[in-house]
Amino acid sequence: MSGRQTHRLRVDIIRCDGHGHCAELLPELITLDDWGYPVVNGGLSADVPPELVRLAKRAEAVCPVLALSLRKVDANADDRASARR
């Protein structure tokens, strides 16, 4: 039985410069903190519901510093795609 594939959106907060385009395109998932930096699910990453995947891809493409990434992951698997710590 293969795992269901889901999409995970992640902010590379080191790259991020607080332009805020992502929050403008995807307010359902991304808000801005008091200093203009993206908040995703209270942190820096979240699963993306299927109906928002298209918008998430546009948000990823529009980030001026390529700080947003959308990766496919197997449901319930460790997110190894971003090699984060």
């Binding site: 907060i13 607080g18 200093w35 820096l44 710590r85």
Partner: protein
């Protein structure tokens, strides 16, 4: 601010079966030479042949955990760098960016060969391509001691893989594992967010191990598992180095068994010289606890269960006349200035938080100061490129809980008068 004579505290002992272990044979102010080291401990164990190094299996059974602050099982860290076909790099982390901690500099100045043995043994067991020691830990005297030890080893030809010394810059985050990898790779020593066990120094799987952890490895490899586990607890065996200062009779670096009570540590450090307002445990990413917490056991597990943190073994006894809020405000400002300035939530959030804590400490807090603190601490948590914001928030929350009564007084506009600062926010204060 008072200059503290933080040196190694070494009770007399002859049997290695008890304590001290890392500090056995150490005379305060003197470095153990290679000759003395080999006299006491014998030659470094070597392993030849193609079978897996015996230490890899021993490490799992030993129960050794890292001594850099996180207390992560050492065996798990070593396993993590063996998954790749690429030969890994071993880094001994002697940055000691924590201003109040002196244990790593003490170990490196007095007993560097234990650390260097451990690094060499790890390099050998893991078939490392390079072994590096990353040092600041008090600067020139520490670096000189490591250089002298490396010269002795080179002259004796005992290191199959020469250990490279790389000097770390002096700042709080220079010991963060992704920062040191970036520094060794020739970049700035600030965090990068990569998974170093996969892609670290020279883009190789990298094992980053605190210098004290490697010193324990050097002894474990010689004396074996039953010996190693003969002190400490079942879950967390062995000894650890604790930096103890404040209202104690014998401030210094003390070697203790894991699992002893906080009260035992205070007794070993000469007992209290006056009433205490609170204890700071772990470091500046650690936690304040009440003066009644003397029964807390010195293990990561027990501390975590009590909402506290063992961290890198810091124990500060805050004198009763010193306001914990003032101390906290000073440290929060230091932590804000220590930001690598890469991530918005940290570089803007921590100064905002520190400013609000300053208002509280000065007794000029407005009605919404605490609400702002709660809002901002929630906004920076889990949103940094490293653990710095989370650690700072943990420290702050423990202060607000432990100094609850002071907070109420300060909020009511009746702050304590500032007293002589106790917690160092500049390196020079600990003259080791």
């Amino acid at each position: 601010m008072t200059v503290l004579p933080l040196d190694v505290a070494t009770p007399e002992t002859t049997a290695l079966a008890t304590l001290p272990r890392l500090l056995a044979g150490v005379t305060p102010g003197q470095r153990v030479t290679l000759h003395q080291h080999l006299d006491r401990h014998g030659p470094m164990p070597t392993h030849r042949g193609r079978r897996a190094h015996p230490l890899l299996g021993q490490l799992a059974s030993s129960g050794l955990r890292g001594r850099g602050g996180a207390g992560f099982p050492t065996t798990t860290k070593w396993d993590a760098v063996t998954n790749s076909a690429l030969r890994p790099v071993v880094v001994a982390n002697g940055a000691e960016g924590e201003p109040a901690s002196a244990k790593d500099r003490c170990l490196l100045r007095h007993n560097p060969h234990l650390v260097l043995d451990g690094a060499q043994i790890a390099g050998h067991a893991l078939r490392a391509r390079r072994v590096v020691i990353w040092v600041h830990a008090g600067g020139a005297p520490t670096i000189a001691a490591v250089e002298a030890a490396l010269s002795e080893r080179a002259a004796a030809g005992i290191d199959r893989l020469p250990i490279e010394l790389v000097v770390a810059p002096e700042h709080f985050l220079s010991g963060e594992k992704t920062a040191l990898v970036r520094g060794i790779n020739g970049g700035p020593a600030i965090p990068s967010g990569v998974r170093v066990s996969e892609r670290g120094v020279d883009a190789r799987p990298t094992l980053v191990q605190n210098v004290e952890t490697l010193a324990h490895v050097a002894l474990l490899a010689r004396y074996g598992i039953p010996w190693f586990r003969s002190v400490g607890t079942t879950a967390e065996p062995g000894t650890m180095l604790a930096t103890v200062f404040g209202a104690v009779g014998a401030p210094g670096v003390h070697e203790i068994e894991l699992g002893v009570r906080l009260g035992d540590v205070i007794r070993q450090a000469g007992g209290l010289t006056q009433d205490v307002a609170a204890y700071l445990l772990g470091g500046y990413h650690g936690t304040w606890v009440s003066p009644n917490a003397v029964d807390l056991a010195m293990t990561h597990g027990d501390m975590r269960g009590a909402g506290a943190a063992l961290g890198a073994g810091l124990v500060v006894a805050l004198p009763a006349g010193t306001c914990g809020l003032h101390e906290t405000a000073r440290v929060m400002t230091y932590l804000a200035e220590a930001s690598a300035q890469q991530c918005g939530p940290c570089m803007f959030g921590l100064p905002a938080i520190a400013g609000a804590v300053d208002e509280l400490a000065a007794g000029v807090a407005s009605a919404d100061t605490v609400a702002r603190l709660e809002r901002w601490t929630a906004q920076v948590t889990r949103r940094g490129g490293c653990g710095h914001p989370d650690g700072a928030v943990r420290f702050l929350h423990s202060a607000l809980a432990t100094f609850k009564d002071d907070v109420a007084m300060h909020q009511a506009g009746r702050p304590c008068r500032p007293a002589t600062p106790v917690l160092p926010t500049r390196r020079e204060v600990l003259p080791l």
